[in-house]
Amino acid sequence: MQSKTSLIKREILKTIFRSVGWVSIVYFLGLFFAIPLDIIMNSSEEQQKFLDIDNLFQYNFQLQFIFSISVPVALSVFLFRYTQVKQYSDLMHSLPVKRESIFHQYALTGIILLILPVLLIALIVLVLYQPLNLQDFYSVWEIINWVGITLLFNIVIYLAGVSVGMLTGLSAVQGVLTYIFLLLPVGLIVLVSINLPFYLFGYPGQYYMESKFEKFSPLIAFTQMNMRTPSIVEAAIYLILIVSLYFLGLQIYKRRRMEAVSHALVFPITKPIFKFCVTFCTMLLGGGYFGEMQGGMTWITAGYVFGALIGYAAAEMVLQKSWRVTIHVKGLMVYTAIMAALLILFQFDLTQYEKRIPHSNEIERVHFSESYYLYSDNDHEEPLYLKEYENIDLVRRFHETIIKGENRLAQIPGRDSVFIVYELKNGEKLVRDYRINKKEYKPFLKLIYESDEYKMATNEIYQVSADETSKITITPSGPVTKRAVITDKGDLKEAVEILTEEVDTASYEELQGIDEPYAHIEIYYNDSQKAYMTWNPSYIRFEEWLEKKSLLNDAKVNSNDISYAVAAKAKDIDINFAAGYSYEEVFEKMSDSKSSIKITDKEQIESSLRNSNGYIEGDYIIAFYFDEQRTMDIKSYTEKTVPDFIKERLQ
């Protein structure tokens, strides 16, 4: 009789295994296919030579990933079917067993069903470890690590499914909501990062969006498990999540009203929460989308209205389990009022977020560039920092002017971007991102860009010592194979000195020039190091020097490389920019066009080359035909830059 009243009912466990045991078996077979089978198939010495594997995740990681995000959710759905089917629920809940006891038995058995396949696979790998020389690739510790990480993720995802299942009365909703729940942290970060810049002037959305947000969702974090091992803190957070999700699920289950089975959401209070959360997210999505694609307050507002309406309707459809729903206008009005209040609240800038600029004496150094990527791109060395007081002050004043002068609503994409990071002496960072029209801020930009510190930081040539230079190659930009090479000691020294001087004296206007560089220069120094720079057309003294050294012919494209050119007015040539175009097509069209002219005179070609812009969008288009590679390069002129003879002939 004692066993009858015990907590664990053998028959309940039996029925769990009978109904969901297959999930565990499928998982085992899948993992077996992904890992041990792969090991066995690649076990010959010959094959092992080509293996690049240092942990268990790297065997068919995509498969493992798919299993880890689908099996736990599927298990939670199938396991708790008895809470989602009315008759099943009535049967289970009429039994003389406490709900708490039923939950423990189901939820824990589910965990065991997830653990068993993983442990078995680990065991099989351990058996194969010695015979197949797996120690050449990874230690036994990696196997244990794999078990630990896989189980942490699986169980968190599974228990998320269980907890969500307790809130809903439909299996399908349980599955979908589980994924939404697991992706929500990341989704919200992305949506907020996209939308906040519309309201918080200077908010660097991209900076926050790209700062390791993937850790906030187990689903996304798992995608990196073949490359990194989670930290102790992460593992601890997952353990805490496991315990709290388990007891959260239990508490919700104890309060669950069984009569609400087959409702999308069991607890009435969750219905408005769900509805407004969906509305809020789709609103941010709509606004963010149109804000990024089109910009401007009209588009953003339209995006918000559109997104909110769709989200609200979709949420109603889920709750009412039909697509033919009556929309509760009252709720929508309440929502609109709250959003309007929130919008007004942002206008006050209560935290002084928009106005805050650190004092000069607080600032350790400042990063100043035109894009977040110039700051974050770790392939390069440390990003550019300005430390001199004068420059820090310049950036501050520039920043001040932006805050005073810019219309925050004009933060549309397509304008020039300014990215500023103040690193303060107390270790904090203040990050801002603005869209401005660079021309309006020329005085500031000129001073910053022309400052020695900025030039030193942005030009690699300053690291080159003229004496240590071993070789300089000058590769012309254009479809030619020629290039100029300097190896003579004396010439090298002179060249480096002239180039340094050119960079030194280059003005802001020249640096901002959009002309295509004549050539790309690589300077080899200190044995293995290489400095890179471009030869801007404004470096006239360098050109003269090259001519003196008779290197000019090889250093840039000239009329000798070109057999003839074809020029035409852009409006006469029908180029479909939207659908894409190839140079060959454009060239053919230009050649066929009656209104185009052919230029064969070398001198005319030379002067055509000099003034042309390296892109195709201009008032006049010119195509140069390169004999050597039988290919063409297409450039353009504006009304101002077009050579007179072309203009005249095209009249």
Partner: protein, 298 residues
């Protein structure tokens, strides 16, 4: 034994059951009647401990049912559409219940399986609806419950099977004082089974009756007199009166002996006391709540 006091339960913000009070004595069979949507199933599920009551109290032998395994161990609930664990055979279902219900009687199970001639090794969902219902009865009775709760149990059973089930239930009640609550939308289906009936309409109990009382209490009499009809009926409690020629037909409430001795005083030419069907009693008893009653009589 079963005491339901002022119970209210709302489903989807509507009161499914409101202010219900029922008392059922040990060893009696209580029939819960009402049309569809009257709240019978909700009340039974409250009693089976599946739903929690919003207000009021439900107690068996003074103990609450909800989340009380000791009490639920003595209760067995058969749903309106019997449901079994997926893919289970009768035998497996029996094993399941044997593990769950402490008073499970394996001998009784085998005995019942033999009586109903059911193949216990066949998966239940392959059986027809009627056989599934029989299987549910076999399993329920084998669990030896003190309280058996049946939601529309006669649906889908043929008359022979109905009779078999009814006699089994009556035996069980007689033998070990099992208490049965049975819901139905049809009075005729359960009138020969129940001691008490309660009629529900729109979540409320509109009538509760002891059937034995009702039957011994209400009479149909035919009388005829020579000459004018004396004012003899005034002291009698008459539910219905009609005249066919010189014969008067009355439905009268009261003790049969008292009525006949009273009528005899007036020397009627004809005097007959006829038995009434339950159906007739209800029709005459409750003119007002007609709709609810009409439905359960269909």
């Amino acid at each position: 034994m079963i005491k339901i006091r002022n119970v209210r339960k709302s489903l989807e913000e509507m009161d499914a059951v409101e202010n219900i009070c029922i008392e059922v004595n040990k060893g009696s069979i209580y029939g819960l009647l009402g049309s569809n949507g009257a709240g019978k199933t909700t009340l039974l599920k409250l009693l089976a401990g599946i739903y929690a009551e919003d207000e009021g109290s439900i107690a068996i032998d003074g103990q609450p049912v909800f989340e009380n395994p000791q009490m639920k161990d003595k209760i067995f609930f058969i749903q309106d559409h019997p449901y079994f664990l997926p893919q289970y055979t009768v035998k497996q279902m029996a094993q399941f219940y044997k593990n769950i219900y402490s008073r499970w009687d394996e001998e009784r199970f085998e005995e019942l399986a033999a009586i109903f001639e059911i193949d216990i090794h066949k998966k239940i969902h392959r059986f027809s609806k009627g056989i599934q219902r029989q299987a549910a009865f076999i399993l329920a009775l084998s669990a030896r419950p003190e309280v058996l709760i049946l939601d529309e149990p006669m649906d889908g059973l043929d008359p022979v099977m109905r009779k078999k089930v009814k006699s089994l239930l009556i035996d069980e009640v007689a033998e070990r004082e099992m208490t049965i609550l049975i819901s139905s939308h049809n009075l005729r289906e359960v009138e020969d089974l129940c001691d008490f009936i309660g009629i529900m309409h729109n979540g409320r109990m509109i009538l509760e009756k002891d059937l034995d009382d009702l039957k011994t209490d209400t009479h149909k009499i035919q009388v005829a007199f020579k000459g004018p009809v004396p004012a003899l009926f005034d002291p009698l409690k008459i539910l219905h009166k009609e005249k066919r020629g010189s014969i008067m037909i009355c439905i009268v409430k009261g003790d049969a002996k008292e009525i006949s001795s009273y009528v005899e005083q007036f020397k009627p030419v004809i005097f007959d006391m006829l038995p009434l069907t339950l159906e007739e009693i209800f029709i005459y008893e409750m003119g007002d709540i007609g709709y609810a009653v009409q439905n359960i009589l269909d």
